[in-house]
Symmetry: C2
Subunit: 137 residues, 2 copies
């Protein structure tokens, strides 16, 4: 495997599909990039109990999938996300919405409401959001 992936995939961009573990690695790169493998490992210590080797594997799989770019920096690489967090969020949440709530948002919120999973803050924020929406458009 090698950096060729970066280029090939950047063109054909096949709706990159990230696993759960992989997404954890992406998170630290979305927070800040570029980062060296070492920095990624450091950032993950604490959140995940992974060996360095495991993280290296995930970085490589992400490279292979075209979710990351790696640019050489002397002897090491600097990794940056290619897949955007917002795009990933969309794929994830729409897939769940489609599978569980027939693709509609209101029933999802209603579910959380039934389960009393709405904090006062949530309610306040939602209220504001919705008000902004229905006169905005």
């Amino acid at each position: 495997m090698s950096l060729d992936y970066t280029c090939k995939r950047e063109r054909m961009r096949p709706a990159v599909d990230i696993s759960d573990a992989e997404s954890v690695v992406m998170e630290v790169l979305w927070e800040r990039h570029p980062r060296t493998a070492e920095e990624v490992v450091a950032a993950l210590a604490g959140r995940q109990d992974w060996q360095e080797a495991t993280i290296k594997t995930l970085l490589n799989r992400l490279l292979g999938k075209g979710a990351l770019r790696a640019e050489r920096d002397g002897r090491r690489y600097l990794y940056s996300p290619l897949l955007e967090r917002e795009a990933w969020l969309s794929r994830q949440s729409e897939s769940l919405l489609a599978r569980l709530f027939d693709g509609r948002v209101a029933p999802l919120v209603a579910h959380f409401s039934r389960q009393r999973k709405l904090s006062a803050q949530d309610i306040a924020e939602l209220k504001q959001l919705i008000e902004g929406l229905d006169d905005g458009q």
Copy 2:
């Protein structure tokens, strides 16, 4: 494997974890139950392109996981859900919420809003829901 699972699992109930394919089978049982394997197969024809054998496997795995109960009815079994749909919905949606939106609902809705994924109907329903909420509690 056998029906013993039904009983064992009913007691220890280890937060049953269902795969995607399995959840499709559960859906037809949530809609109506009990149902025989044959009825499940019939209900799935159309939605999924699965061989009967595949569905039998899924039924058995669900039994093994304690997500289903099977009661003998002559030569066949009648399957019913043990895992409740609402509980499953909760696990799925809370897990997504936690992973992607820091456990808070408003940012999730905000995301859909940014992506223009809110229909007029959604907005109306949300508005009503929220209004009902903040004086209700």
